[in-house]
């Protein structure tokens, strides 16, 4: 039963372990339900790539609690980024899949780390191209601060105090790692 996980570099500092992440997902699921009991129009939307597995876990947790189906989709924000000319940015498009009606829905966007807010800005633009949702909320596992846009999360797993130059990375079992969030000194580019 001992699943073999890929290791992370030793200098990465663990700030959320398996247990903390699991509790955070559970708590955020209850908070999402508490805010609005009507889940008929609820849809969880994970942002590729960091938010897609977390979104799936949130959806499954909410389904477990409520015992009914909840819509789930993923969006690729690559086409909506404001830094396309930067050759550093990843070119690979992985596609958007929103298999439900956006108009009139309550959407909870999910990402792993909230930092500048630019990804969320892109995601909002992407969502609105598909229709006019009734409301869009935001759930993130880690809020590390240093926003560059007026965006905040409705549901936060954990606030990670850190310096601007540090990185926050989330690794999950779906990617072959033990669940964990890490604080990292800036990597050499």
């Amino acid at each position: 039963m001992t699943a073999k996980y890929k290791p992370v570099p030793r200098e990465w500092q663990l700030v959320m372990d398996e247990e903390t992440i699991s509790r955070a997902i559970s708590r955020m699921s209850f908070e999402i339900l508490e805010k609005d009991r009507d889940i008929k129009n609820l849809a969880i939307v994970g942002i590729r790539t960091g938010g897609e597995y977390l979104g799936k876990r949130l959806q499954q947790e909410i389904q477990r609690i409520e015992g009914t189906e909840v819509s789930y989709g993923v969006i690729d924000i690559t086409l909506y980024r404001d830094d396309l000319s930067s050759s550093q940015s990843q070119p690979t498009l992985r596609g958007t899949d929103l298999p439900f009606r956006i108009a009139g829905s309550r959407i909870v966007l999910v990402d792993d780390v909230l930092f500048t807010g630019r990804t969320i800005r892109s995601a909002l633009d992407a969502i609105i191209d598909f229709g006019r949702p009734r409301r869009v909320e935001l759930a993130v596992l880690c809020d590390r601060g240093y926003r560059e846009l007026p965006i905040q999360a409705d549901y936060v797993g954990k606030v990670i105090p850190c310096q601007r130059s540090q990185l926050v990375r989330v690794r999950l079992s779906e990617m072959g790692y033990r669940d964990g969030a890490y604080l990292i000194e800036r990597e050499e580019r």
């Binding site: 909230l114 930092f115 500048t116």
Partner: protein, 322 residues
């Protein structure tokens, strides 16, 4: 570094898959209610066509518009062009408009390469140069095959593919052959000796692995993919074929011959078709025809090409994201 797409020759397998995977994502964009993404907002794309074209030009135009780029179409009559000097003048004029991408079709092989050499800050896409290359057509053919073979739980490697007809004058065939050689597929060229000379493969592609057939039935045997090429009516005047009736008697792809020689094959045609000359109506409209998918995929492939190239234009700047 400004990137260009001048031909399929020289692209690696991973280059091919990068274009195809990106195009795959753009298929979804064309199926949305709002068929537009803001990705290339503020970028200028000039489609400069020295040869008449409706299909390729409109496909590039739509692709640019769906990416929110500003597209300008310039058609330059071939007869009014004195080669060489005028081309450099045209290129300089276009450069002064400061476009991010120039999509060029020209009757002379190498014209887009010439333009690329003289443009410092503009990506050039070859939309067909003489009998040389037509890379986006080859890519859309590959995407069409990739989609089809995915439904059969297969990839696009290890295939047997045959090109039937006027291979000698076909830039579509030339680009596609390069792609299939890179993928390691078995490539056959099928047609009359005047249009597919025996030493053509070695001369054009520098390889002995391509088999040449002048007998249609023999060449079709067990193929997975048949690419029917357009028979240009001018070839009769140029004496490459005695007359089109006789050509079609020997080389028209009919359901009867396919059912017998390559019952599992699918058929591609770059269009526009001469029904009854190089392909029968029954095959063109039948279940093994992927011709309509090719047209649909044209826009997605061109979006992918424009997206991947336009990224490389403009000053790269480190921007934080998160």
């Amino acid at each position: 570094m400004v990137d260009h797409l001048l031909g399929i020759q020289g692209l690696s397998k991973s280059d091919l898959y990068r274009y195809l995977d990106t195009a795959h994502s753009f298929v979804e964009v064309s199926e949305r209610d709002i068929k537009k993404v803001p990705t290339l907002r503020g970028k200028t794309i000039v489609n400069v066509f020295f040869e008449p074209s409706t299909r390729t030009l409109s496909s590039f135009d739509i692709a640019g518009k769906r990416l929110s780029a500003d597209t300008i179409n310039v058609s330059i009559g071939a007869s009014s062009v004195k080669k060489g000097e005028t081309l450099i003048d045209t290129v300089r004029t276009l450069e002064s408009m400061n476009p991010d991408v120039i999509v060029m079709r020209h009757s002379e092989s190498g014209a887009p390469h010439f333009a690329a050499k003289h443009l410092a800050r503009t990506s050039v896409v070859n939309a067909g140069d003489g009998a040389h290359e037509h890379p986006t057509q080859a890519l859309l053919d590959l995407l069409t095959l990739k989609q089809y073979f995915a439904t059969k739980k297969r990839g696009i490697e290890g295939l047997k593919i045959g090109f039937v007809g006027d291979v000698r004058h076909s830039r579509v065939a030339r680009s596609s052959v390069w792609a299939h050689l890179t993928l390691g597929n078995e490539v056959r060229l099928i047609g009359p000796k005047t249009l597919v000379p025996e030493d053509f493969a070695r001369g054009a592609f520098g390889t002995d692995t391509i088999k040449v057939y002048s007998d249609l039935a023999e060449g079709l045997k067990d193929l997975d993919v048949v690419v029917s090429l357009r028979m240009q009516l001018e070839r009769q005047e140029e004496h490459f074929v005695p007359n089109l009736d006789e050509y079609s008697k020997e080389y028209c792809i009919s359901e009867r011959i396919l059912a017998r020689q390559a019952p599992g094959c699918v058929v591609l045609h770059p269009g526009p078709m001469n029904r009854g000359t190089e392909i029968s109506g029954e095959v063109a409209d039948g279940p093994r025809s992927l011709i309509r998918n090719q047209v649909t995929n044209g826009v997605a492939v061109r979006m992918a090409v424009l997206y991947l190239l336009a990224r490389t234009v403009g000053a790269p700047e480190e921007v934080s994201h998160g």
